[in-house]
């Protein structure tokens, strides 16, 4: 039994390994801000949202569209979805309160605990089927329709009655019958609990009937050691039933938590949606296309995390990078270059995990993998150590990168002199492009940017942070060739207003 709200054919795995560069992605794209907004105080929703975002590049177009459908249903019926999520949460919470015996590892306590827990679950399953019956007409996505149909089909009255019968038998009120074989030293082994036919004859009848022989050993009353051994044989005998029942309880619990997990993602989407809409920010369902199609085109694309932090509208960008393999962004400091880079990364991940994106429109190919290579804050390491660290980080990316991946560089390789940094950047980007990897590179390395501009490549786009004639910034990017200076002078004037330049 599967929830199938995240994938048409399989479960969402909360424990799936995150990509190796999860730390970089999280830091560079400020994903924790996004996760916090989605969680809205529910840590579990946050965990699911985080995993869905980090693993987003593993989804195909079909999955993205499938989730968009489910999400649209959720946006139509937010209270039903939140209610179901709560209901699953309560069942799990109850089970935790009640499950002390089941994890005890003693067969008899486990048997008792499992029986107890399953009695509670039967009630929950019955109620869940009720919800499915009631709500099925209000949902249209493939995901929700399949879920509700499955619940009605699988949780029949017959099935629930069968569980209840097992729970009665498992108390072994009339002694225990085991089958056994001879082990490697002729000991009783392969002990298996047997369903006693119940019509066992007494010893007298057995004798008179000349039935098959039976030999009984009676423990001496004071044989305490023997009593303990016998108890252990009994425990070995019931252990398989205990485990079978405990595992069954565990499987039901897993079903509950899996359902809760997949619902949590949509609850997170609802939370974020609420926050963005309340700021009058536009959101859209992106149009995904297959990896390799090199589509990338958007209007009013903004940095979702920045907008969540700033509590005000932020500037959006417009670009058509259809058919481009390389986007180089140059221009003024504080001109919104990093913000732009982050907004592309965020929108890409949000799209690929089936969410809406922070833009008026967003159309893009799915990338096979997303990597960020951002300049790190200055640390105690000497300059040489820093450059070394940058190259090592790039090398790790190379180890994992595949064709149709997307690589976001932010001021990379500036930790050495410009000539050397440009040369390294040139080599790296050239090789990546030849390997069909999409590169977005924010840089001050003029040699490097100019070099690519001079190649007049059809598949390259050059964006520049805008600066008006009076030096103020629009925080918008526009198409434009790399320029020699990066307007550090502007920044200087802004920070030291009114002061004369020391050097003319």
């Amino acid at each position: 039994m599967k929830a199938l709200l995240m994938f048409p054919d399989r479960d969402f795995e909360l424990l799936a390994a995150s990509p190796w560069n999860q730390g970089d992605l999280t830091q560079d794209l400020e994903l924790e801000t996004l996760v916090l907004a989605m969680a809205a105080g529910d840590e579990f929703v946050g965990d699911v949202a985080r995993k869905a975002l980090l693993c987003a590049t593993r989804n195909d177009v079909g999955t993205v569209l499938y989730r968009q459908e489910v999400l649209k249903d959720a946006l139509q019926n937010p209270e039903v979805v939140r209610g179901l999520y709560r209901f699953m949460g309560e069942a799990i919470k109850d089970s935790k309160r009640q499950s002390w015996g089941i994890t005890s590892h003693y067969p008899s306590s486990m048997l008792y605990g499992a029986t107890d827990l399953l009695e509670m679950f039967v009630g929950r399953l019955r109620a869940l089927r009720g919800i499915a019956e009631e709500q099925t007409g209000r949902f249209h996505s493939r995901g929700f329709r399949a879920l509700f149909a499955m619940l009605q089909r699988e949780l029949s009255d017959d099935f629930l009655a069968q569980i209840e019968e097992h729970l009665t038998i498992s108390k072994f009120r009339k002694g225990l019958l085991l089958s056994a074989e001879l082990g490697s030293c002729n000991e009783a082994t392969q002990l298996a609990p047997r369903k006693d036919s119940g019509k066992e004859a007494g010893w007298l009848q057995r004798l008179l009937r000349k039935g098959p022989p039976a030999y009984t050993y009676r423990l001496h009353e004071r044989d305490e050691a023997g009593g303990r051994i016998l108890g252990k044989i009994r425990d070995r005998g019931i252990s398989r039933v205990a485990v079978a029942l405990a595992e069954s309880a565990g499987h039901v619990l897993n079903f509950f938590s899996m359902l809760r997990t997949e619902l949590a993602f949509y609850v997170g989407c609802l939370n974020l949606h609420g926050q963005l809409v309340s700021r009058q920010l536009s959101v859209c369902f992106p149009i995904p296309s297959e990896p390799g199609t090199r589509s990338l085109c958007f209007r009013e694309l903004y940095d979702v995390c920045l907008s969540l932090r700033l509590e005000r509208r932020v500037v959006g960008n417009l670009a058509d990078a259809t058919g481009k393999n390389l986007i180089i962004v140059t221009g003024a400091n504080q001109g919104g270059k990093s913000t732009f880079l982050r907004s592309v990364g965020q929108a890409q991940l949000m799209m690929q995990c089936g969410m809406f994106a922070g833009a008026e429109t967003f159309e893009a190919e799915l990338c096979a993998n997303l990597f960020t290579h951002f300049k790190r804050e200055e640390d105690e390491a000497m300059k040489s150590g820093k450059f070394d660290e940058e190259v090592a980080r790039l090398s790790a990316i190379v180890e994992h990168v595949t064709p149709n991946a997307m690589l976001l560089f932010n001021e990379s390789f500036a930790a050495t002199n410009e000539r050397e940094g440009s040369e390294i950047a040139r080599q790296i980007v050239s090789a990546l492009l030849e390997k069909r990897i999409k590169v977005l590179y924010v840089t001050h390395l003029y040699d490097f940017a100019r070099g690519f501009f001079g190649r007049e490549m059809k598949d390259a786009l050059f964006l520049r942070a805008e600066r008006k004639a009076d030096g103020t910034r629009t925080f918008r990017l526009a198409e434009g060739e790399p320029l020699e200076t990066s307007y550090g002078e502007d920044l200087y004037r802004q920070i030291f207003p009114g002061e004369k330049r020391v050097l003319s």
Binding site: M1, D11, H105, P107, M110, A114, H166, I169, S170, K174, G175, L176, L178, S179, E181, L182, G183, S184, C185, N186, E187, P193, R194, K195, P212, P213, T216, Y217, L219, G226, I229, L230, K232, I233, D235, R236, G237, R240, A244, A246, E247, S248, G250, H251, V252, N254, S384, V391, S395, T402, P403, T416, E420, E423, I424, Q427, I428, A431, K435, I437
Partner: protein
């Protein structure tokens, strides 16, 4: 050819009685660590002594190298390992059987288990070896021996009886009814398994692991009187079968063949070594069977490394730097100089280790190697000053070196590390020149690690080897030793090169 042993082709190749203990140079070359690591998982075979016996004869070395080559074929190694595993099981069962001797039926059953495991092991090994195209004289001869043994009446009878008894005992299934302090033993009458019924009901929820619902199934704590009482009653249900079991144990008390037991132990010498090799290979380290000679002193090796260091570095996930060396013509002595911590001593150890391992018939570290089969190996490494020794350190050093020179012949190998480091430079230069000249006169192979560059060009027998640093950043040790220094790269490119992040590297590294 009659089969003697997989380690020694002829009885006369075996070492004289009483020759045990590690050779004197073991510690200096870190071979003690290597052997400890190799044999660690094979303690029960007591293999260490085999690693203390070098072979002096090229033929004896090739005899082993052939076996190594055969064992390098996966199916051959698999066959041997399967056999050893079964033999180990057999020994365990025999030990257990002895432990429970006061419970007859348990003891007999364990003995039967041991005999069954043994005959299974022999049968399986023979069947496996017959499928294989063996090349080594040693394994071919063993296969012949095994064939004869397996066809013997004695073994056939053992195998058949074991099989029949085991089948009949295993087929028994009985019922135990436990109620109020009584146990009733009777025949099982086909009642259905209750836990299966439960599992079937919940099948639809089943997926992956359910969580940690292991029970501590009370462990089988060995035989006890209750089990004995149960067995007694099962025996009442099947009296003839239990009598047959008792007879079997008397008739086949001494079933184990001596040669086969010896093979099981001796073959572990190779198995242990090759398992050790297999641990290092995934890190890109190569091993090869060296060409050994007692005639040519033109030794060479490509991509060789220090085995003891490699093991330690791999534990720390660090990379191992490989080095090449060669001597040609009249060249006999490597004089190793260069900055400290640059891999000089490692180079010296590596040279010694490789020659010693070659003399065991083992594969040596490196992609290719041609090595000299020496008569003796000597090392001179710096010692901690011994306060109880009345002689001074310099004097002590000289005495040790004199002993080496007294015993060394033109067929020997000498490894010297940082000689005379504790004396004045003038003395050290003088003494070292003397010693190296003497070594050259003997015409033996040697490695001398030193800080005295004067030695490097002493005569036509010495070859200078230098541990390299990155010329742009002398703080970076490359651990490469070369016969001449190489050119440096520009700093940034050197870093990019170091991380394999240049254009060429990325083109090569990105997976399609």
């Amino acid at each position: 050819m009659t089969f003697e042993s997989v380690l020694f082709e002829r009885d006369s190749d075996r070492p004289a009685q009483g020759q045990t203990g590690a050779p004197a140079f073991f510690k200096d070359l870190n071979l003690d660590q290597v052997v400890e690591a190799i044999t660690a998982d094979w303690k029960e075979y007591d293999l260490t002594a085999y690693f203390h016996i070098p072979l002096r004869d090229v033929g004896a070395v090739t005899y082993r190298q052939e076996i190594v080559t055969d064992l390098g074929e996966k199916p051959v190694m698999m066959a041997v390992r399967v056999f050893s595993k079964q033999m180990r099981e057999m020994r365990n069962l025999l030990a257990q059987s002895k432990e429970v001797h006061y419970f007859n039926r348990a003891m007999q059953r364990l003995f039967l288990g041991a005999a069954e495991t043994y005959s299974g092991a022999v049968g399986k090994l023979l069947a496996d070896l017959r499928q294989l195209r063996l090349q080594s004289r040693g394994l071919i001869a063993f296969r012949e021996y095994l064939t004869e043994y397996a066809e013997s009446v004695r073994f056939q009878a053992l195998a058949e009886e074991t099989k029949r008894l085991k089948e009949e005992l295993s087929a028994i299934r009985y019922a135990l009814q436990i109620r109020n302090g009584t146990i009733t033993v009777r025949n099982y009458e086909g009642e259905i398994d209750y836990s299966v019924a439960v599992e079937e009901t919940f099948e639809k929820f089943r997926k992956g692991a359910a969580g940690d619902y292991r029970v501590d199934i009370p462990r089988w704590e060995g035989m006890n009187h209750i089990e004995a009482e149960i067995q007694k009653r099962v025996a009442l249900l099947y009296p003839e079968l239990f009598q047959a079991l008792e007879d079997f144990c008397t008739r086949h008390a001494g079933y184990l063949d001596g040669k086969i037991a010896e093979f099981d132990r001796e073959i572990q010498f190779y198995v242990a070594y090759l398992a050790f090799v297999a641990k290092l290979q995934p890190a890109g380290l190569s091993f090869c069977l060296p060409q050994v000679s007692r005639m040519s002193k033109e030794v060479r090796a490509d991509q060789a490394f220090d085995l003891a260091l490699a093991r330690k570095l791999l534990d720390k996930k660090a990379t191992v730097v490989c080095n090449d060396f060669h001597l040609s013509g009249a060249e006999r002595i490597f004089v190793v100089t260069g900055p400290n911590q640059g891999g000089k001593t490692t180079f010296a150890r590596m040279f010694g280790q490789m020659h010693y391992l070659a003399s065991l018939g083992c594969p040596v570290p490196g992609l290719r190697a041609q090595l000299y089969l020496c008569d003796r190996l000597f090392t001179h490494f710096e010692r901690q000053e011994d306060p109880t020794n009345l002689r001074g350190k310099l004097q002590d050093d000289l005495i040790r070196i004199r002993e080496i020179l007294e015993h060394a012949t033109s067929d020997s190998i000498v490894v010297m590390n940082e000689i005379f480091a504790s004396t004045t430079l003038k003395d050290a230069v003088f003494l070292s020149k003397e010693i190296v000249t003497r070594l050259a006169e003997v015409d033996l192979l040697a490695v001398c690690v030193t800080f005295m560059e004067e030695l490097a060009s002493l005569n036509d027998k010495t070859v200078s080897v230098v541990s390299m640093v990155n010329p742009e950043n002398p703080a970076i040790r490359t651990f490469k030793l070369e016969r001449r220094p190489a050119d440096g790269l520009a700093y940034a490119l050197a870093i990019a090169e170091k991380h394999h992040a240049t254009y060429d590297w990325i083109k090569r590294r990105v997976r399609e």
